[in-house]
Amino acid sequence: MSLALEAWRIASEPFYSPVGDEVALFESAYAQRLPLLLKGPTGCGKTRLVEYMAWRLRRPLVTVACNEDLSANDLVGRWLLDADGTRWQDGPLALAARHGAICYLDEVVEARADTTVVIHPLTDTRRMLPLTARSESLRAHPDFALVVSYNPGPSAREMKTSTRQRFCALSLSYPDAERESLIVAREAGIEVGLAADIVAFGIRTRRLQGHGLDEGASTRMLVHAGVLAAQGIALPVACRMALVDALTDDDATCQALEAALEASF
């Protein structure tokens, strides 16, 4: 347990309601330090699962939100200037590898492919990260593990095959209506009946996947609607703000969703 990463430890248990046996599978993969790929629609609980598992396994969690401008040096590290000259600053990936944390690359396909290949040496039996600017070959800490996530929607970029094949994958999806109502009720602090109405409308929006929407309302958006409703906002208005207007700007889809909203409440 390295003190360097105390700030990245998860202090209290995050709430996570398992959908299937993903918790046990995650633990089995971590036991062998197999790299994990979490796939699922946006807002279905991938990040929450990683946080929960990091807490459960008592490891620090270093998260990187991947984007188009992420460079390899952003992940690995770079030289910086200080009063005495230059010093090396570890990037999040090197930090996690050095001190034995779980490194979580969120939305990994958003990063460019030439950035993502930097993780390859860490994901096979070598478990090392070459820091060429430093002429160092960093051997990963025995407790280090890599988890990545992405959202395999119709407009998602594809992952390079050589990267994909290094991972074991867990496919996550939205929970069933009953469980989702419990999650929304708990996260938003509203009663289950109200949460069930919100979830029912959310399920209607998901029927438009591929017909005007890339994805329907995520669990996260349903929680937003619940939070608004808990403030006293009328349910149709809360759903319009958190679900309809947030989901799309396409006229035809907005119209259909508005009509569905009017029909639902």
Binding site: R78, A133, R204, L257
Partner: protein, 584 residues
């Protein structure tokens, strides 16, 4: 019918269909198909037939102005949108809750009519339980009242209203009896009719009363009301409820036009050439012998003459648009969106030369040395010693190939234009979107008439600016002959060889994916040859993409270009999403 006047609409099919179809999808998981070819709504199988928005001079105003109406967009009047929603939701409720058919043997026409009414009311009740807002949608469309009289049709409408509208209390004893038969308790709306035979029984009882009241009923002239409700023909599989209006076949994107019969002795047929005829010979891959046949295809390049008149086909691409291919507001928005997508360059970064900053990805050694020297001397220091990996501006060359074969005359999705027109629009949009950047775009149409004559019709050269002249040449392209894609790809690859640009050249093919030529009898030959050409182009550093306009062509296109490089387009406004996905 007294209530339920039909509304006249402006031509609105495209802006109506999409929201309506999506609306139905959100209500119940099974999404029925919608058709707009009926006089009055009816259901056939899993198809809902609705009236078409007809071109009428004026909009008949709807008497109902109560309750919230969803603000209309896309030019659909609010009342029309509400009516269509009511009709479609009612029909969808039948598909969700009604049995496939009823047994009408031995039922007199009055009972049949009543059975239809009770079943309509029953499915509406069930739907309202699930979706309470539907009650607010349907109830206001019932406007019957006691003042309408006690004739058969009026009583039916009053009964229908009393079953859907909890606030309506009708004094007529027959209507009240109907209500008591329908609901378990007068006050609480719990359905008493659970099974088809119970509904039949209730209909028979009410029908008897009609007979005893000696009310005149004409089965031939009876029309189900209010007019948003379907005509119940689905209930009687063998018998006929009302005279059905023959539905004209829907124009769907059918299979491509039958190719012309193979011509054994395809001689060289010169096309209209403006420049001097010059054929380049290209090899072709024969998959059966796994060898290249050298100098096998003759490719003729010529420049297209500008169109003298507008291209054939529907003059309005879609409702609300001006003349074919003319820009309008939606077009401009699409162009801007596409521009944003294409400007997001996806090239690897390179270190720009002179840009030093306080942080970055690499340290510039010279600047660092100067810094340390200045520090030692006690002079003010410039701490910008890093270099950032910057991405250069988008440049390079693109070639866009438009499939001009005879199959491009087929219609495209629901848009009412043909594939060639759609290809022209796509090419024009892309060229216009890339105009401001340093990318040079060339557009050519291609068609073939045997291996001795593959025509590449140049519409825009690399040096040309996209403008009315290029647009006019685009409009001059016509569908004819066949698709010999391999030769076209090899031609384009040769044109793309250039050492000046840092970005990889790109080749974009817009096609329906149907490869055919008159002197080729093996169905896989041309696909294999095109694949060979595509691989050759990729080895030379060309990035290939294909936009397929017909779903049927998706599979061969994927075989040729690879799944990652192929996108299918069924509506023009989806072009930016497809472009982003293909990483153009």
């Amino acid at each position: 019918m007294a209530s339920g006047q039909s509304l006249a609409y402006k031509p609105l099919l495209a802006p109506l269909h999409e929201p309506l179809h999506r609306y139905l999808r959100t209500l119940w998981p099974q999404a029925p198909a919608l058709h707009y070819n009926a006089q009055a709504p009816f259901i056939a199988g899993r198809n809902i037939h609705l009236p078409a928005p007809s071109a009428a001079a004026a909009m008949a105003t709807d008497a109902d102005t109560t309750s919230s109406s969803i603000a209309s967009s896309n030019g659909i009047p609010t009342a029309a949108w509400r009516w269509y929603r009511a009709a479609a939701a009612h029909a969808a409720a039948h598909l969700a809750f009604s049995p496939p058919a009823f047994d009408g043997r031995g039922l007199p026409p009055v009972t049949r009519a009543l059975l239809g009414l009770l079943e309509d009311a029953r499915v509406e009740q069930l739907a309202c339980r699930e979706l309470p807002g539907l009650c607010r949608l349907w109830a206001p469309l019932h406007t019957a009242q006691p003042a309408d009289g006690d004739g058969f049709e009026a009583l039916m409408l009053r009964l229908a209203r009393s079953l859907i509208d909890p606030a309506y209390d009708d004094p007529h004893p027959w209507v009240q009896k109907g209500r008591r038969l329908f609901f378990v308790d007068g006050t609480v709306p719990v359905l008493a009719l659970r099974r088809p035979d119970e509904t039949r029984l209730a209909a028979s009882l009410l029908g008897n009363d009609i007979g005893q009241m000696r009310l005149r009923f004409s089965a031939a002239s009876y029309v189900v009301g209010p007019d948003y409700r379907d005509d119940s023909r689905w209930m009687w599989p063998a018998g006929q409820a009302a005279e059905s209006t023959p539905a004209p076949p829907q124009p769907v994107a059918g299979p491509p036009a039958a190719p012309p019969a193979p011509d054994k002795d395809a001689a060289i047929r010169p096309s209209t050439r403006l420049a001097g005829p010059s054929a380049e010979l290209y090899p072709e891959w024969d998959r059966l012998i796994s060898r290249l046949r050298h100098d096998w295809c003759a490719v003729f390049e010529d420049r297209v003459a500008e169109a003298a008149e507008a291209p054939p086909g529907p003059s309005a691409a879609w409702p609300g648009a001006g003349p074919a291919d003319a820009p309008d507001a939606a077009d401009q928005a699409l162009r801007r969106h596409l521009q944003r997508v294409l400007q997001r360059h996806r090239q690897p970064p390179r270190y720009s030369d002179r840009r030093l900053s306080h942080d970055g990805d690499a340290v510039d050694i010279d600047a660092l040395v100067l810094l340390r020297v200045a520090q030692r001397q006690g002079l003010p220091i410039d701490a910008r010693i890093h270099r950032r990996a910057a991405r250069g501006p988008r440049d390079g060359r693109w070639v866009v190939l438009i499939d001009q074969s005879a199959s491009s005359a087929n219609s495209w999705a629901r848009a009412g234009i043909d594939l060639l027109q759609a290809s022209r629009r796509v090419a024009a949009l892309i060229a216009a979107a890339l105009q401001p950047s340093d990318v040079q775009v060339a557009i050519s149409g291609f068609q073939s008439n045997g291996r001795h004559h593959v025509a590449l019709r140049c519409v825009k050269g690399f040096a040309d600016t996209f403008g009315p002249a290029v647009q006019a040449r685009l409009d001059a392209l016509r569908s004819a002959h066949s698709t010999r894609l391999g030769a076209a790809l090899r031609y384009a690859t040769r044109r793309l060889k250039s050492t000046r640009f840092s970005s990889a050249p790109q080749l974009l093919v817009i096609s329906d994916g149907a490869l055919y030529d008159i002197d080729v009898h093996d169905p896989h030959y041309l696909v294999a040859d095109a694949r060979h050409a595509a691989l050759g182009a990729a080895r030379q550093g060309v990035r290939l993409h294909c936009i397929v306009l017909d779903q049927a062509g998706l599979a061969p296109a994927r075989k040729i270009f690879g799944a990652r490089a192929v996108g299918s387009l069924d509506a023009l406004h989806r072009l930016p999403a497809v472009a982003a996905r293909l990483a153009l």
